[in-house]
Symmetry: C2
Subunit: 359 residues, 2 copies
């Protein structure tokens, strides 16, 4: 185990070489840290802004041993890294943050909602099913229409379908691959919000202002932050964040997606044990952004301030939308963040902008 | 020659792998560029946050050819890169910014002051000397006490001595190595200021607010920005910056050190054709900092806004002062920037902090 807090010059390992890894690496660089990335693909976005890249599958034993040999702590940029890889690192004495519990909870939608409810963080009603019959049963219990999702491996709206009638449940279960699923009641929400929060090694927590989020086809398009929110709503979100962070004995930044109901209650939609797309606004709206905050937390440093210093509209640049960089670069209120991805496939997150104005 | 403006994903070459190169590389990474660094030492601060490093002397022909082969444009982090290296890159068709004229002027204190005066940017009185006799003569002409400096290769107060009496000039000339020198009249200044300015490929210019600077033993300790300054003083600085940028047909960020005289006039002390230590405050005091601004300029992108959004006190962390990082990281108003240097020699710039408060 590394001595904490990590000295500047220490090596931080990141599992995953995408844009979140890239922005984590840039933040780590600003604080004087070195970064090593373990990533399947050569020439990755994060691999091009860090000291070392290990190109291998996440479950490659030799690669994990090489990572363990050089990294003082390890973190990850997304929650679908194999739990076995993290367990293997922990077995080699590596400090991995956020820890295995957060990963296990976030990798399985049923475990996640069960954990949330058990920790006083309300969600929609839900039921698990692992057979066509159980799926029909679950939808009947929850009530149609309901949302059926694979328990594992879903992101950006993938791996989920609406079930209009209980009788359709067996067919939808098959369409989703006949894998274990969760059936969720629809949330009658008026707004999608999220809260980015952090917890340090010492248990200190810090919560950013709420963001209001707008999705299209399951992909985040736009966040507005700080969101208009009465103090009671903000307090409710902070209470939820505190319970989740404590319940997971969490270290690092977490993204918590919320539904705001018409009666003012907040339900947790899902949690992501990592820096989060709805937190990108903090890069230009806060003194310490979510990326530096995450690095501070995993390095055992004190957390930084989370108050907003500007009003931000964050817009994702999907696919060839990033080709408008030249126009965007000329807008004085627009801060441009591009990820260095080589191929602009439709819907692929190529970058984002933060449009900034005074609070 | 690369097509300008440079597309994101293009490769920007940087001569020099120190902290300025590191912060340029981090800014380039944020905009989706790749960076290749040419630097004498392996394991350099910049080399650990970029895609490629070529470890070689700046005048290594094979290294320069390798750089020319991969870089779409080349810039540099300090003005003492050999002019021949830049000429060689230009000869291979590489677009180097800022260009050879800026480098030639900045590398020779006599050429520099001659250029400044010729372009309407006032300086102290000065005279060149390249023999002991000429040195005595020059001091007699300028008047003692005077400052004798080597024409080339000085930085951070190195390569300069006071001459108290004209009779001492020959001895001081010998102490400075019997190389060509410049003799300068003392500036009876009330304040040291600097202005960071930028010029794009299209000739557009942008000027940051003035910084007030405090040196110790020739090394910058502290900058306050925006400096208290009457509009007339700011206009005077902007006029000087515009003349210098136009006179050099400049592309990139330039640092211009100024003396404020008791009668309100500004003299130019020296210019640095690169990002500048007195511009580090822009990282946390402006929307687009000097590093991104420099990358924008050399890439042929539009310049970004330069207005201040916060009041900043920048403090350099010299030698083991950087060991206080843990205390500094806990201060909510303090933004920490560390350079990843391995050895904290006395006086070595290891990092800096920007202490930020509202305007």
């Amino acid at each position: 185990m590394a001595d904490l807090p990590l000295q500047p010059g220490s090596m931080i390992g990141i599992l995953g070489g995408g844009q979140l890894g890239r922005m984590l690496a840039l933040a780590a660089g600003r604080l004087g840290f070195d970064v090593v990335v373990l990533e399947r693909e050569a020439d990755s976005p994060a691999g091009r802004v860090c000291a070392h890249t290990i190109v291998a599958a996440y479950d490659d034993a030799a690669a994990l041993a090489a990572l363990a040999a050089v990294a003082d702590v390890v973190t990850y940029e997304f929650e679908n890294v194999p739990a076995a890889a993290v367990a293997s690192l922990v077995g080699m004495g590596v400090d991995v943050a956020p820890g295995p519990l957060a990963l296990a909870v976030a990798q399985d939608r049923f475990e996640e909602k069960t954990f949330l409810n058990a920790n006083g963080a309300p969600t929609v009603a839900f039921a698990a099913a692992d057979s066509p019959e159980a799926a029909v049963d679950a939808v009947a219990r929850i009530g149609a229409p309901a949302l059926m999702k694979t328990r594992r491996d879903g992101y950006d709206g993938k791996g989920q379908r609406w079930v209009e009638h209980a009788a359709d449940a067996a067919r939808v279960f098959a369409e989703l691959g006949s894998v274990p699923v969760i059936v969720e009641a629809p949330a009658d929400f008026v707004r999608e919000l999220s809260v980015i929060a952090a917890r340090g090694r010492d248990g200190a927590t810090a919560v950013y202002p709420l963001a209001e989020n707008h999705h299209e086809h399951g992909i985040l398009r736009r966040s507005l932050a700080p969101a208009r929110a009465a103090p009671a709503l903000t307090e409710q979100a902070e209470r939820i964040a505190a319970r989740i962070l404590a319940g997971l004995d969490y270290v690092g930044v977490i993204g918590i997606e919320l539904f705001e109901l018409s009666d003012g209650r907040l339900l947790v939609n899902e949690i992501a044990p990592r820096v989060h797309n709805t937190g990108h606004w903090t890069q230009d709206g806060c003194e310490v952004d979510q990326f530096e905050q995450h690095i501070r937390a995993v390095a055992g440093w004190p957390l930084g301030p989370t108050r907003a210093i500007a009003q931000v509209e964050m817009l994702n640049l999907l696919g060839d939308e990033a080709d408008t960089w030249s126009k965007l670069a000329a807008e004085p209120e627009t801060r441009l963040h591009l990820y260095g991805k080589r191929a602009a496939k439709p819907g692929r997150k190529m970058g984002h902008v933060n449009k900034v104005r005074p609070l």
